[in-house]
Symmetry: C2
Subunit: 146 residues, 2 copies
């Protein structure tokens, strides 16, 4: 039924729950591939100016955030492997979470997105709606919110 499942993964409890549900679905749809996508935000100088004074040079924040996103994606990959999933990939991408997820899903022609209802949020999510809400509204394929 589903052949190409996308799981946006930020390492939160909700995202892990979504990953487990996606694994169950992939097993049910024999041969389905799971793609993990961890989205990180571009580090803005505006946000930096609001931050606390640092004792040490933080280095290149974008590089740090990309490395962290890759670690999170790898963690998701490890979890899926432990659940017996072998047909899987993991990516890290920079951008606005919902838009990046939807653009990625269109580009790779996923036929299902499975994601947590919480997590991937910030103060912004309270003001503009959650990431899962935005993805549900924007994605052309079915979205399962776990």
């Amino acid at each position: 039924m589903f052949k190409n499942i996308l799981v946006p993964f930020d390492g939160s409890v909700g995202a892990e729950k979504a990953l487990r549900k996606a694994a169950q679905l992939a097993k049910l749809c024999e041969g389905a591939q799971i793609t993990i996508l961890t989205v990180y935000r571009h580090h803005s100088m505006l946000e930096a100016s609001f931050s606390m004074v640092r004792a040490a040079d933080p280095g290149n924040m974008d590089d740090n955030m990309r490395d962290y996103a890759r670690e999170v994606a790898e963690h998701g990959k490890k979890l899926l492997t432990e659940l017996g999933i072998t047909n899987l990939r993991a990516f890290a991408r920079v951008g606005q979470p919902a838009r990046t997820i939807v653009a990625f899903s269109r580009q790779h022609e996923h036929d299902l997105i499975v994601m947590g209802s919480r997590g991937m949020g910030s103060v912004e999510s309270y003001l503009l709606g959650s990431v899962s809400h935005k993805v549900t509204g924007l994605a052309p394929m079915p979205v399962m919110v776990v």
Copy 2:
């Protein structure tokens, strides 16, 4: 994987799409039951006062709406039967759509809700968010928005 699937059904194109997806899933999860739920709103006198002047007595509006909801639910049941689903039920309930769907799903312990992203709306949905958005936020079980 899923045993007890709920499909909120208002007869819209999106709801029919959700019904077809639910049928696929039910076949994949052999023996899963599909429950169709059509929610209708209590006819308020306030809304009636905004309506156009009628030439004839509209009768008991609540009864009319319940009968129409039952017809819609039966239509959904017929569609599922044509898709080869035999383990199914259909209900009509009065109330606020999202809250009624979530209360029903809790009461009947559904393990998945499949619903369309459009439909079941009104002007209110533009102001307060769509029914699927509200259900996704309120339901304790996974919600697939088609």
